[in-house]
């Protein structure tokens, strides 16, 4: 059979030329935009390096073992180290997580796993859950000083816990709860429905399915949320300024006040002339935050590897 040759050589050359020019144009556009992205990234990194570098260089002189292991002396001089503030920070991290992790994870499990699962009269419960979800979203974006004021009003004055570890822990728990709830929700949502179905089809109850299959699969994501909260607690100042007081001594019990590392930095900067000590404290804070972010990075890498394995 004789097929007419519709792609004459001329037409073909033209098409080729046109697509070659087009390709060059597109490549140039790509080069330009990637160049701009790079520039943007470079500027961001530079700014970060300058800030961190400045803190490190000015603070470096005051950091040594003694600085880390002696308590601050108090007063206007800003003499002494930071040991008690580190310990108070750790106390607070522990207390806040002990309150907020079970509550937050429980709330997230409830919001995700039981959402819309109510068979009869489900409409009311479903809209209630929607309201709660909206509330969690909103709380996560509220400035922390509001949590501080709330904590001051409720825990410090109304409940008369005073400026204390307890007040600060409760206010701090309110602060990080939305973060824990949201990251746990996201982690639960990444667990495939097929795993839940597989478990239920084997005669597992809903709770067995959650505790033995869904939560274990979501653990890396949940830990990420908890680490984010730890970072938030370590760097928080406003909430603890109005709930923890400012004593530089080690708290003796739940009802004594204290100061965290960031709060100490705040006091050093505002009330003393110990500029280098403040910078040293800042450097310690930055190092802790970097460490926490490294851990989060490690976990989420593990998480995505696990997800890939499952697909």
């Amino acid at each position: 059979m004789n097929v007419p040759d519709i792609t004459s050589t001329n037409a073909m050359n033209l098409a080729e030329k046109r697509s070659a020019a087009d390709l060059r144009r597109r490549q140039a556009a790509q080069k330009l935009s990637f160049g701009l992205f790079w520039l943007g990234a470079l500027v961001v990194i530079l700014i970060m390096l300058v800030v961190v570098g400045y803190v490190f260089i000015t603070g470096f002189k005051s950091i040594n073992l003694q600085f880390l292991t002696t308590p601050p002396k108090g007063g206007l001089s800003g003499e002494g180290g930071i040991s008690t503030t580190v310990i108070t920070t750790l106390y607070l991290v522990g207390l806040i997580l002990a309150i907020s992790a079970p509550l937050g994870i429980g709330a997230a499990v409830f919001l995700i796993e039981y959402q819309g699962q109510t068979q009869s009269g489900g409409k009311f419960i479903r809209s209630l859950l929607q309201v709660v979800n909206f509330g969690v979203e909103t709380l996560a974006g509220i400035p922390s000083i509001i949590f501080g004021l709330f904590g001051y009003a409720l825990f410090v004055s109304t409940l008369k816990f005073g400026f204390s570890l307890l007040s600060a822990a409760l206010a701090g728990a309110c602060l990080v709860l939305p973060t824990i709830i949201r990251t746990t929700q996201e982690a639960l949502l990444t667990v495939p429905v097929s795993l839940r179905e597989g478990s239920l089809a084997l005669g597992a109850t809903r709770w067995q399915t959650i505790s033995k299959v869904v939560l274990p699969a979501a653990i890396p994501g949940i830990i990420t949320g908890i680490m984010l909260s730890v970072g938030r607690i370590i760097s928080e100042t406003a909430v603890f300024y109005v709930t923890l007081g400012g004593s530089y001594r080690l708290p003796k019990n739940l009802f004594s006040g204290g100061r965290t590392l960031s709060l100490h930095l705040f006091y050093l900067a505002m009330d003393t002339n110990a500029f280098e000590k403040a910078m040293g404290t800042g450097a310690v804070l930055i190092v802790s935050i970097i460490l926490i972010n490294l851990i989060i990075d490690l976990i989420s890498r593990k998480l995505s590897a696990g997800v890939r394995l499952h697909q």
């Binding site: 819309g116 097929s194 089809a201 067995q208």
Partner: protein
């Protein structure tokens, strides 16, 4: 003919206002393989999931009519007890991100079995039953996810067997597998039917012809409501269909 294991009478199912299944009456015999065939979207999976009440998980699902297991009303049973009697294998292999051993021991464990030697025994028999034992016996601690697709599906079958059900529902169990893995699953189904009642959804008619004793043909029209057109011995459905639509479907006129 064998005793009746599963049956529905004038059974209809609604997803909210949408009627997915209408007026289905069927009697599925014990220790036989019954295939459910029909074009995609005609309600095969929905119908299969009736027998272990997986549709309960979907909000807004409503049913009419009866569904019985061994003559007992499925909807008034305790759902956990029902799912111990009626196991399920899904379209895509869905092993838990746990070891092979823990995957198989999962069902017995959630049903309260703790003794190590009992669990060991169940794991071995189940893996043997699913024709997987020889391939994994030295690696029971390995993750179930590290197996090939066909092995994963047999692991899921072993996991279902471990609960000691009398019925196994399979929803296109070979749809995601290569021809060789598919053939192994089909051979396995023929072995399992000695002891279990098997209901398998497939849109592969050759597969239905190879593995099943009985075939139910489901069909739907513009209403998208699924109906049972014909149910008979597979041999008869394929050689002498009573309904024009069945004939058109198996001769490939609907694709």
């Amino acid at each position: 003919m064998n005793a009746i294991k599963l049956e529905t009478h004038s059974y209809s199912l609604y997803y909210g206002k949408f009627r997915a299944l209408e007026d289905i009456s069927i009697e599925i015999p014990e220790k036989q393989v019954t295939a459910i065939i029909g074009p995609s979207g005609c309600g095969k999976s929905t119908f299969l999931r009736t027998f272990n009440r997986m549709n309960d998980l979907i909000p807004g699902v409503r049913t009419e009519g009866q569904a019985l297991l061994d003559g007992e009303d499925i909807f008034s049973m305790d759902v956990v007890a029902l799912r111990q009697r009626v196991g399920m294998v899904f379209q895509k292999p869905n092993p838990f991100p746990k070891s092979i051993y823990d995957n198989v021991a999962y069902g017995p464990r959630v049903n309260g079995i703790r003794e190590k030697n009992v669990l060991d025994e169940i794991v071995e028999t189940s893996l043997r039953g699913a024709a997987l034992w020889n391939e994994v016996k030295d690696n029971l601690g390995k993750s179930g996810l590290a197996l090939s697709g066909g092995q994963q599906q047999r692991l899921c079958i072993a996991r279902a067997l471990a609960v000691k059900p009398s019925v196994i529902l399979m929803d296109e169990p070979a749809a995601s597998l290569d021809p060789i893995a598919t053939q192994r699953i089909e051979e396995l189904i023929r072995q399992l039917v000695e002891h279990y009642t098997i209901v398998i959804v497939t849109h592969n008619m050759q597969q239905a012809g190879r593995v099943s004793d009985y075939t139910a043909f489901f069909f739907t029209d513009e209403s998208r409501t699924g109906r049972l057109v014909e149910f008979n011995l597979t041999r008869k459905i394929f050689t002498n269909p009573q309904d024009k639509r069945t004939e058109d479907y198996i001769t490939g006129r609907f694709g």
